[in-house]
Symmetry: C2
């Protein structure tokens, strides 16, 4: 679990106090990986505390994070600094947070990021790393994984060294998230909860976190009585609790299939989950019903027919990626999941999307 978290409107202003005691020496900088939507946003960037050789690297979140991107960042950081950094600070959504986690791991572990995709393959403690979400729902701020697209698969680096050492939850950073993105990322949390709560891996620990997050999602996306500040705070907590829920359980069908879309088509995780989940009534009847209510209430129109022109080979690629995620299927449908989830079944679902 994340050992230190600060919560509060405006808590971003305390970043300087948080980082100061963690500076190793003047040659060991803090590297800030920041979503490039903030590039000319001085409201945020002017408050990033830079001293000595500290540096901001702006990164586009238009694509899902890649193992090669992590390797490039690590090389850039090593080549341009005298010493290993004092810390890596990720400021952004799931993409930036996952990049920050992966870079901090790869700065102290040999080889390439793709070698560590899987469970508990990381050998050395990561560099001190801090996560500051500017959009909520993914749970990346609390999870022990960093999901990366590698040369052969989309899979997380899951390890005890992955979680952030410090998280700053300042809901004010969410104030300018566009409506559609707010919905897609929020639904990532909602779908986590449905998949976790309805999964066979569920236990009282994950259940209590999942139910709390689900109830917050319903408040945020179905009720009308919250101020935008309250919505931001509640979605921030929903993301946190939803992430905690899956740390000790697992996601399910929507995530498995959405990874396929993302690998082949580069579909972003949030919207990909929505596109898939919209067609999963047979697996999650109650959840999908609520999802459709939320979609309609927020006037969100999902892309249609994104798989309509794919070749058989492309379908096969997506199906391979999805089927490879065995724990997700087992969680969703039990040990005998292979009886119902055939390649044909998956193709029939993908074709609808």
């Amino acid at each position: 679990m994340v050992p230190r978290v600060i919560f509060g409107r405006g808590s971003f202003n305390q970043l300087s106090d948080i980082l100061a005691p963690k500076r190793l020496n003047i040659n060991a900088p803090f590297i800030f990986l920041v979503d490039d939507v903030f590039k000319s946003n001085s409201w945020l960037t002017s408050r990033i505390p830079l001293s000595y050789d500290d540096k901001i690297i702006y990164i586009s979140a238009a694509e899902e994070p890649k193992t090669s991107q992590v390797d490039d960042l690590v090389e850039e950081i090593i080549l341009s600094n005298k010493e290993r950094p004092s810390g890596i600070i990720g400021i952004g959504g799931g993409t930036l947070l996952d990049l920050a986690k992966a870079v901090s791991i790869m700065l102290t572990n040999e080889g390439e990021a793709k070698d560590y995709q899987g469970w508990d393959l990381v050998k050395n403690k990561a560099i001190y790393h801090v996560g500051i979400p500017t959009i909520s729902g993914t749970g990346a701020e609390v999870s022990r994984t960093t999901v990366l697209t590698g040369p052969t698969r989309k899979l997380g680096i899951n390890s005890d060294y992955t979680p952030f050492d410090q998280v700053v939850l300042d809901s004010e950073l969410l104030k300018d998230v566009p409506n559609d993105q707010w919905f897609y990322t929020g639904m990532d949390c909602f779908i986590h909860c449905v998949e976790s709560l309805q999964g066979t891996y569920i236990n009282t620990f994950s259940q209590s976190y999942g139910e709390m997050a689900l109830s917050l999602c319903k408040e945020v996306f179905l009720e009308d009585n919250l101020t935008s500040k309250e919505s931001q705070e509640k979605l921030m907590m929903a993301s946190w609790h939803g992430g905690m829920s899956i740390v000790y359980s697992q996601v399910g069908v929507a995530h498995a299939m959405s990874y396929g879309l993302s690998y082949l088509l580069g579909t972003k995780h949030g919207i990909g989950n929505c596109i898939v989940f919209d067609h999963l009534e047979e697996f999650y009847p109650e959840g999908v019903k609520l999802f459709k209510q939320m979609k309609s209430k927020h006037n969100v129109v999902l892309p249609q027919g994104i798989c309509s022109k794919l070749s058989d080979k492309e379908f096969d690629t997506m199906i391979d990626i999805a089927l490879d995620l065995e724990p997700l299927w087992e969680n969703a449908l039990g040990k005998n999941w292979k009886k119902t989830i055939t390649r044909k079944k998956l193709k029939s679902l993908y074709i609808k999307m």
Copy 2:
């Protein structure tokens, strides 16, 4: 926050695997502080992994933990071992968990435990410490305090070094808790939640944890459809979330007044909270109503008239202790709490108990 937690029925059996990598060397033992109710209980004690100079110290939880007791334990541990321990493992309820936290701090910090009662006075990182609750409700397994009775006051050692490095949540360890104790300790959690949720310090973070814990308490103590295993697991999670809720907020009137009882009369924390809360309708009308329902459903009869024979001087002592806890009163009643909470008012409440 606690960085590592393991949850699951039977997870106590993994203790050996958890501790092994933390052993510094063969002269640096693990010291197990264990509630002495388990002294001849081989079901539990036979599973405590002892190697080299590792040692079990049985401790009675009949009295609230004292600063002098911590100092004695630290002295005993230092004198009887060649090196500082590899770790301190507390196995028991709030008393044992608080002792384990305090001992691990005082093994690396000079002076006496009483010198550290307060906020952020601890200078050095504590010895590695593990908490294993065998009763649930106090939140001691997750909190950043260790509440001790000192020569002049009952107050916690609140610090970033106080929380456990590892917690083991094995609900099976709760199976033999006597009914009354189960109720008193569970109510500690329930009262935390009421005080936190109704307090002026409340924020979305604490609120979401508090609501989750409150809802679990209601399930455990007011509904009839849980198996004993489910009740144990749910109360274990309620205690965890209730503890998290007050980490970022504060308790209130019941805790302030109960500290007075405890200091003067040695009343244990759980039952003390119940005795006080039973008379707090004017501060927590809804909470006290629910409490009375739970009390009646579980056939719990609270002691009456425990203050009936006290002298004025004794009342003054209790009132001094209670009034000293300013943050609790401010949380409960706002910045102007001194207008309503007079010495006379407190005496009139204590007299009823």
